[in-house]
Symmetry: C2
């Protein structure tokens, strides 16, 4: 697992997208985790899973290729447990955000973007700083991290 | 874990909803699983998680209160593993459908609804047959199953 972290507007997602394509092109099985600190809403009002949840149950909606867990008061399981269950066959897991997991981190920075309110990750987690255009460099950093 | 199974149009979801409310009202922690044999689409085109997936990665989107796993070629983990990870603190797990899991099953039936193409669950899984209006009976069946 390796994490990409950047202030908003840096172009992190485009870089992550390109790195994933690169890694897949090398035959690796890649998994991605996007962390969103806010509330998200996957459910649709009136659907069966929504009705179960509104009746008071924590709910799982399980389809062939997708799955949703929805809770009005619980909190998501730890990242390591999720990765073990869902990504046991992945060669590499690319994580966007998720600072609380304390992962080795590639910091994405663009000189013209600065946000004084943005808090840098812990320095001892940062394994490198890259510009969002440095797709090959970032890919090599991930591969090197895998090999270590 | 206990499963509710019925032909479409029987009123199963309304019954499950009422049973969940009843169980919650008795102070139990209830979890629900809705199985959908079809492809479902939780993602939104253009979102970060969608971009990761389209780049070739199996993807997890993790929020505060909800979580989505999305894959274009994988299959969902087994029900038991999902329940162990997400519902470890639940007192009871109500499952809609999911025949492949071979759970004890309450068959929901309404005389006026008959679907000749509908396949009954294995007889040895059926612990009772209830009418969709029999909320108290169904609740008692779940409680009895918990106590067994």
């Amino acid at each position: 697992m390796i994490s990409f972290v950047a202030p908003s507007g840096t172009g992190k997602t485009s870089l992550v997208e390109a790195v994933i394509k690169n890694l897949c092109g090398r035959g690796l099985r890649v998994a991605g985790v996007k962390h969103d600190a806010h509330r998200i809403e996957l459910d649709t009002k009136g659907k069966d899973s929504w009705r179960m949840r509104k009746a008071g149950a924590e709910t799982l909606l399980v389809g062939k290729n997708q799955l949703a867990w929805m809770s009005d008061n619980g909190s998501a399981p730890p990242l390591e447990d999720l990765v073990r269950l869902f990504f046991s066959e992945a060669d590499v897991v690319i994580v966007e955000g998720y600072r609380s997991a304390g992962l080795p981190t590639i910091l994405v920075a663009r000189p013209e973007v600065s946000d004084p309110t943005w808090r840098r990750p812990d320095e001892d987690r940062i394994i490198a700083t890259v510009h969002p255009d440095e797709v090959e460099t970032a890919t090599e950093l991930v591969l090197k991290h895998l090999a270590d």
